[in-house]
């Protein structure tokens, strides 16, 4: 009898222990299941492997990878990032986009180039899938109505173009009434900026000489283009040359051609040429939609600077992509917190409602979108390349 009691007691304790352990593991399992249900994937489209802007594309990729790692840690999510190289080429971007749409990805970051967004926007719209770009700035991308699921965390060229033109006028980068040469690379982004800047400069009394070259040329043919432009278009009356290009390498080659021919003009590049590793002609101005966070005191920027170190040198081009990726990650996290499984439709709805404060944003401005996907806030940054080839942000614009 006594033994039976002991045995029954032991069984009871064991049962209690089992229930406790099972209950705990069940809770853990539930927690795990809950966490696992915020497991999904997103994709990034960027020119990180091929094409004329691989340096910038690689920067975008690294910042996106960092953003995913930081958001997963902060939100307790398990979201993976698929990588798709587009070579800044609309045809390749279309192929990649179709592949992304056929996958399980619920949203995308990129693509980088405006011409690529023109090509893939309707595809994403048809799939009901949000895609957030950190660098496509052509104004019509948001206003055309074809890209209904497109968002961007950068101001469009209707902001950058006038900002740059007004800076040139205000700070007299060219003498009044002189000739300003502006050269486009026959891409949508470049031609868009030329179209915005030319009337402003003309109205200010400058003579605008608009020329073009084929941005897809390489090697000797490219050098022929640049030699000829420098020889025939950069005259003694030219004091400023604006190069709104997507290739920093080309901007560097053109700048060196000018130096070789003994032409002393000021160069002005736009965000596509912002690459401290490639475009380093002293005296040049370079505008961008992304800030220099290397000296920023904000907690977000410090965390990014710390995290991005392992990828090596970077410029201001990657920060907007970090922001774009964070928008997507936060949208997915908000869906999960509401107890739902992330899908393209609910993530799209969450992206539309994005509301990141300026202090929490790496861009230095609040991140909110208009109905057409454009950024509500206006931001723009300008850098000057000093004699050592270093980019110095201009505070007073």
């Amino acid at each position: 009898m006594h033994l039976r009691r002991i045995f029954a007691g032991a069984l009871g304790v064991m049962a209690l222990a089992s229930i406790t352990v099972l209950g705990a593991s069940s809770s853990a399992h539930v927690a795990k299941v809950a966490k696992a249900s915020c497991s999904t994937s997103i994709a990034i489209e960027a020119p990180f492997a091929t094409g004329p802007a691989t340096q910038l594309g690689l920067e975008q990729l690294h910042f996106a990878q960092l953003a995913v790692a930081m958001a997963n840690k902060a939100n307790g999510t398990s979201i993976t990032l698929g990588k798709d190289d587009t070579g800044l080429n609309p045809s390749l971007a279309t192929t990649r986009t179709n592949s992304i749409i056929a996958s399980k990805a619920v949203a995308a970051v990129g693509p980088a180039g405006s011409q690529e967004v023109e090509a893939v926007g309707p595809l994403y719209a048809k799939a009901g899938m949000a895609f957030v770009s950190g660098s496509a700035t052509l104004p019509a991308l948001a206003t055309s109505g074809a890209n209904t699921t497109f968002f961007r965390v950068v101001p469009d060229d209707d902001i950058q173009g006038p900002n740059d033109a007004n800076y040139i006028i205000k700070h007299k980068l060219a003498p009044a009434g002189s000739t300003i040469l502006i050269i486009d690379d026959q891409e949508a982004y470049s031609e868009g900026l030329v179209a915005v800047m030319t009337p402003i400069l003309t109205a200010a009394g400058f003579t605008v000489n608009h020329q073009s070259y084929n941005g897809t040329d390489t090697g000797a043919t490219l050098q022929s283009d640049f030699s000829s432009l420098a020889t025939s278009q950069v005259t003694s009356a030219t004091h400023l040359v604006i190069v709104p290009w997507q290739s920093a390498g080309n901007a560097q080659q053109f700048g060196q051609t000018l130096q070789q021919q003994g032409k002393t003009v000021t160069l002005f590049g736009t965000d596509g040429t912002d690459s401290p590793g490639q475009f380093i002609i002293p005296g040049t101005y370079v505008s961008n939609f992304g800030p220099d966070i290397s000296t920023s005191k904000s907690a977000v920027d410090k965390a990014i600077v710390k995290g991005i170190k392992k990828y090596g040198a970077y410029g201001a081009f990657g920060v907007p992509t970090w922001e774009a990726t964070t928008v997507v990650m936060n949208a997915i996290s908000s869906v999960c917190k509401a107890g739902k499984t992330p899908s393209r439709s609910n993530v799209l709805a969450a992206v539309r409602k994005t509301n990141i404060s300026a202090t929490a944003s790496a861009m230095g401005v609040p991140i909110q979108f208009k109905a057409d996907g454009d950024l509500v806030a206006k931001a723009g940054y300008l850098f000057h390349i000093n004699s050592k080839g270093t980019y110095v942000e201009i505070a007073d614009k």
Binding site: G219, T221, Q223, S224, Q252, Q260, G262
Partner: protein, 305 residues
């Protein structure tokens, strides 16, 4: 006048590089009747060899050897390296197809072109690299003619190119190998029957042509700065145009064709627009083909009666 002189200098520099690549096209076509579309990519490989040679010796801003030695070394290593690559390509990709229908080696050549481009892409990445030549050959090292700066690098390109072209002419006209090459180009079977080692002759032809393309790649990097895995395609296309305009299979034709294409490109960019330079160059090709299908220096095909 300044615009004219500057455009002329630019056209001659670019033309010399096209000529060096075109010579390879013409030589290979002469002996094998093969259009080696991978030839432009050999020029690209040469450019990369030169770039890494600079890095090996400390980089553009911290060179550990004198600049003249560096340039000689770059050209030698690119010449021999790319020449050897050309021989390997001939041995493994083209020789087995020597008696196949003409379309087979043509398609193979396209395949080799993609392999070379993508191999460089996989090995070294897609981003452009820059020789940063002004760091060790500053722009102030120029001669000045009527207000036009002619950079020392441009002079080096022209001098080396002309020397190589004349060297090739002497090789072809005055050496035993040259005689063998001309014999094989004229009639391969007959040359073989007369004791010419056809395989070796073709291999050496590929070596010489590829070496010239490799050296052209180095000079392109020195003069223009930027290199990437895709620079070979357009350069090869322009050089092919030059070879055809000059007369495919003709060595003087390739030289003149290259210079003509370079000058045409340069002058049309300067005096019309750089947007139309490609259009004008290829229109020239069509015009020459319509008027003289065998090219300016080419021989009309013999008709048996």
């Amino acid at each position: 006048m300044q615009i004219f002189i500057s455009t002329l200098v630019s056209g001659i520099v670019v033309g010399c590089l096209y000529a060096l690549i075109a010579l390879g096209y013409s030589m290979v076509y002469g002996v094998l009747k093969l259009l080696n579309f991978a030839h432009g990519d050999l020029y690209m490989v040469g450019a990369f060899v030169g770039y890494f040679a600079i890095q090996w010796f400390g980089g553009a801003t911290a060179l550990i050897i004198p600049v003249p030695l560096l340039i000689i070394f770059m050209m030698l290593i690119a010449g021999f390296g790319v020449g050897a690559l050309g021989v390997a390509i001939e041995r493994f990709a083209y020789r087995p197809l020597r008696n196949a229908p003409r379309i087979a080696p043509l398609i193979t050549a396209l395949g080799v072109s993609f392999i070379l481009e993508d191999s460089v892409l996989l090995l070294f990445g897609g981003f452009t690299r820059n020789y940063n030549t002004p760091a060790f050959l500053p722009f102030r090292q120029s001669i000045h003619i009527d207000g036009v700066n002619i950079w020392s690098v441009q002079i080096i390109v022209v001098v080396v190119s002309v020397a190589m072209m004349f060297g090739l002419r002497e090789l072809v006209n005055r050496t035993l190998f040259g005689k063998s090459m001309r014999a094989v180009a004229s009639d391969r079977e007959a040359a073989e029957m007369l004791g010419v080692n056809v395989d070796r002759t073709i291999a050496i032809t590929f070596f010489v042509g590829s070496a010239m393309a490799g050296v052209a790649g180095v000079m392109s990097g020195l003069a223009f700065g930027q290199i990437s895995n895709i620079i070979g395609f357009l350069a090869g296309l322009k050089a092919f145009t030059a070879a055809v305009v000059g007369g495919i299979g003709s060595i003087p034709g390739a030289m003149i064709g290259g210079l003509a294409i370079g000058l045409c490109e340069s002058f049309s960019s300067s005096y019309i627009s750089s947007q139309y330079s490609d259009l004008i160059v290829f229109a020239l090709l069509i015009a020459v083909m319509l008027v003289r299908p065998q090219g300016v220096f080419g021989q009309p095909p013999l008709q048996k009666v």
